[in-house]
């Protein structure tokens, strides 16, 4: 090393430098580490209930006032937007729940999740076109993406456990390659599905004059899948293993569970949900290259807001983001992204780990 290296004696001068530093020795009480975080959090939560109430009032009062204004102005528009928001939220929930499960268990930020969505949609479209059955298309989308996710886990991620950044970089590389391969195979056209006749058309609802039946079905399906996921996680043996893995992987492995199997199953379920959402979302809207980025952004924001690793958090986050996006598009079209962004900023500012997030 050269003579001007970094001798040990330089450290005092380092200490001196900081106008940026806090005075040394002051206890900050903000260790965000695993062991101390939980205990401090509970302590703070009991101390800050009044402040939290104030925050709730600050954020919900303007929303309530604006909604009352919007209802008096044009009630059908408001309720239609509300239902549209719920539909979008259910799509986002389907995509994001897989993302959050995979992260919670494997600490793997799968940035190829949007590609899995698009892949499921394309395969579903292909099957639907050839068999004429929409239900088969949904199943094909689920299983195609689940298989792809399984392969990714078995061939790549299994071999680089604990290397968070490297895994994420690999998923970025995979998403680029997959996006280009799909563009190659299916071209840049926009594809649409025809939903089966029994959910085609529109239903008349109170408050909203007419609403597409299909979107209501999407909403119900998302609720059903959410409940199913809850049942899987809370009531079955594999779900118990997944939850145990989220909390402490090492302990789960030590108690004799084949962790690799649990990982593979979770990855397949998460990827399959993305593929299923691809077909369902492709029917509600459309599929084209670029949708992968859109749904990746949506699931990122949803899990950042809701809390990584929590399916309930994904539901709450999806609800917030879906409603914000639809209301933004209806009432302030050029700034609708800003609403999504503001929600994320506020969530990060007050709850850095998300609404339902736990200390990692």
């Amino acid at each position: 090393m050269s003579p001007q290296g970094r001798p040990k004696g330089e450290f005092p001068s380092v200490k001196h430098e900081g106008t940026l530093m806090s005075p040394p020795g002051r206890p900050k009480g903000e260790f965000r580490s695993a062991k101390h975080g939980g205990r401090l959090m509970t302590h703070r939560q009991t101390a800050m209930t009044r402040q939290q109430w104030a925050l709730w009032v600050i954020f919900s009062a303007p929303i309530a006032v604006l909604s009352v204004l919007a209802v008096t102005d044009n009630a059908p528009l408001f309720f239609k937007t509300f239902l549209n928001g719920l539909t979008l939220a259910s799509l986002y929930f389907l995509v994001a729940s897989g993302f959050t499960l995979v992260f919670g268990l494997m600490r793997n930020v799968n940035l190829a999740h949007g590609s899995l969505y698009l892949f499921g949609a394309y395969v579903g479209w292909f099957v639907g076109e050839h068999t004429g059955s929409w239900v088969l298309a949904v199943l094909a989308g689920f299983f195609a993406s689940a298989l792809l996710g399984l392969l990714m886990q078995l061939l790549v991620f299994r071999h680089m456990q604990g290397q968070d950044l490297r895994q994420t970089l690999v998923t970025i590389g995979l998403s680029i390659v997959l996006a280009d391969l799909m563009l190659w195979a299916w071209g840049a056209e926009i594809y649409t599905f025809d939903p089966p006749a029994w959910i085609y058309g529109s239903t008349t609802l109170p408050l909203v004059e007419k609403f597409p039946t299909y979107r209501l079905v999407v909403l119900l399906a998302a609720i059903a899948i959410g409940v199913g996921l809850w049942w899987l996680l809370a009531r079955t043996r594999i779900g118990m293993m997944i939850r145990a893995g989220v909390d402490d992987r090492g302990m789960l492995a030590a108690s004799g569970v084949n962790v690799q199997l649990v990982f593979a199953v979770t990855f397949a379920i998460g990827a399959g949900l993305a593929g299923l959402a691809g077909v369902v979302g492709g029917t509600a809207l459309s599929i084209s290259p670029g949708e992968d980025t859109r749904y990746l952004l949506a699931s990122l924001v949803v899990v950042i807001v809701g809390g990584m690793g929590s399916v309930g958090g994904a539901a709450i986050g999806a609800l917030l983001i879906g409603l914000a996006e639809q209301f933004g598009q209806a009432y302030a079209p050029t700034y609708s992204v800003v609403f999504t962004f503001v929600i994320m900023v506020v969530a990060l500012a007050f709850k850095p780990r998300g609404i339902m997030g736990k200390a990692a």
Partner: protein, 386 residues
């Protein structure tokens, strides 16, 4: 080690110079002046030069060669190569350098560096002049430049403040979300960002009779900025601030226990990286002459990451190595494969690098040297703190 060689070379030349001219040399403080004055100076200089030549290691040669090539490149190359390849890869390299600094030395891999760069470009177009006089304010270029750089740096610091609230792998998600959100905002918004079209006719100024729109002056401008950024980063990582940042990268809790304000240092790192990216962004706008949402799209954001990872994030030069390889691939891969399949090529290269050589091309080079070379460890492996 190399410094010791240098000193030995200097000593031997001292002795050589002193031997023939002992009488006069005693009075003179420096050998150099004695060689100038003395009649035997000619042979002494030649001797000094040869011994200095022997003392030069391969690395010095490489550095000198790089500097010479960088300076003489426009003379040797066609204007296309000067402008399209040279200037573009240096400007991209500067943006990637900001990511290398942030990721390699701060441990925070931010995908929003292209967003900061793009914001600087947008701000320059908004404050300065462009094809949209309804939006552009038409300020003089230097004022627009100052405002663009300042605001973009402030934006970078704000992004940093947001993303350092959580740590580790969350950073990449939050910065990606911010970047994509900015892309959609720029695409949707017509009052400020002029939507899908963006701004065109955003040109480099001409100062003191030099028109920086011409390939040659523009190349040297970018070269000055890029090398300025490079040496700035090299200096900063040895300064107290940079040392503290690396300490925080390796063990934030210990640094906090030592009394460092971890958050402030991280946000400071984001601000510094933001300034570098902003300079690169303005250069990119001058290079393209226009800016549109595509400049800050997901693809562009990820390209910056690809460049930084491709070159290797452990040394600042990696950003420029990666940028040159990337731009060359971008321009010439289409001769080998279909034009449409460029993403496949670059994605495949990126995957291969991440899977097989996580330290990028520099890491690959170091591995090859340690396996086949004379056994001298390369410069960057030594400096790592771990």
């Amino acid at each position: 080690m190399s410094a010791a060689k240098w000193r030995r070379a200097m000593n031997s030349s001292n002795a050589a110079a002193l031997a023939p001219s002992r009488a006069s040399a005693h009075a003179l403080p420096s050998t150099l002046r004695s060689t100038v004055n003395d009649s035997a100076a000619d042979t002494a200089t030649r001797h000094w030069m040869s011994s200095a030549w022997n003392a030069l290691s391969l690395r010095h040669l490489a550095v000198i060669a790089v500097i010479a090539i960088a300076l003489l490149y426009p003379v040797l190359a066609t204007p296309f190569f000067t402008f399209q390849i040279g200037a573009q890869s240096l400007a991209l390299g500067l943006i990637a350098l900001s990511l290398t600094f942030l990721g390699g030395y701060g441990g925070m891999v931010s995908l929003a560096q292209m967003t900061v760069a793009g914001l600087a470009g947008y701000l320059f177009a908004i404050f300065g002049s462009s094809s949209m006089p309804a939006i552009s304010l038409g300020w003089p270029w230097w004022l627009a430049l100052v405002f663009a750089l300042t605001l973009a740096t402030a934006f970078a610091a704000a992004v940093g403040w947001l993303s350092v609230r959580t740590e580790g792998i969350y950073t990449i998600m939050i910065t990606l979300a911010i970047g994509v959100a900015f892309f959609y905002l720029a695409q949707q918004n017509y009052t400020l960002f002029n939507g899908f079209q963006g701004f065109s006719k955003v040109t480099a100024p001409s100062v003191a009779g030099i028109d920086f729109r011409e390939p040659l002056p523009f190349y040297y401008l970018v070269l000055v900025c890029a090398s300025g950024g490079y040496f700035f980063v090299k200096h900063l990582v040895r300064a107290p601030f940079g040392a503290a940042l690396q300490g925080i990268r390796d063990n934030p809790r210990r640094m906090q226990a030592l009394g460092y304000n971890v958050t402030a240092h991280r946000v400071g790192g984001y601000a510094v990286a933001g300034l570098l990216a902003a300079v690169g962004g303005v250069l990119m706008v001058w290079y393209n002459g226009r800016i549109s949402p595509g400049t800050v799209g997901t693809g562009a954001m990820i390209n910056i990451l690809i460049i930084a990872v491709l070159g290797g994030m452990k040394h600042p030069i990696g950003a420029f190595v990666g940028a040159i390889v990337f731009v060359l691939l971008q321009n010439f891969a289409i001769d080998l494969v279909d034009r449409e399949r460029f993403n496949l090529v670059i994605g495949g290269v990126f995957l291969a690098i991440v899977l097989f050589s996580p330290d990028g091309l520099l890491g690959l080079w170091a591995k090859l040297r340690s396996r086949f070379g004379p056994g001298t460890p390369t410069f960057k492996t030594k400096r790592r703190l771990q």
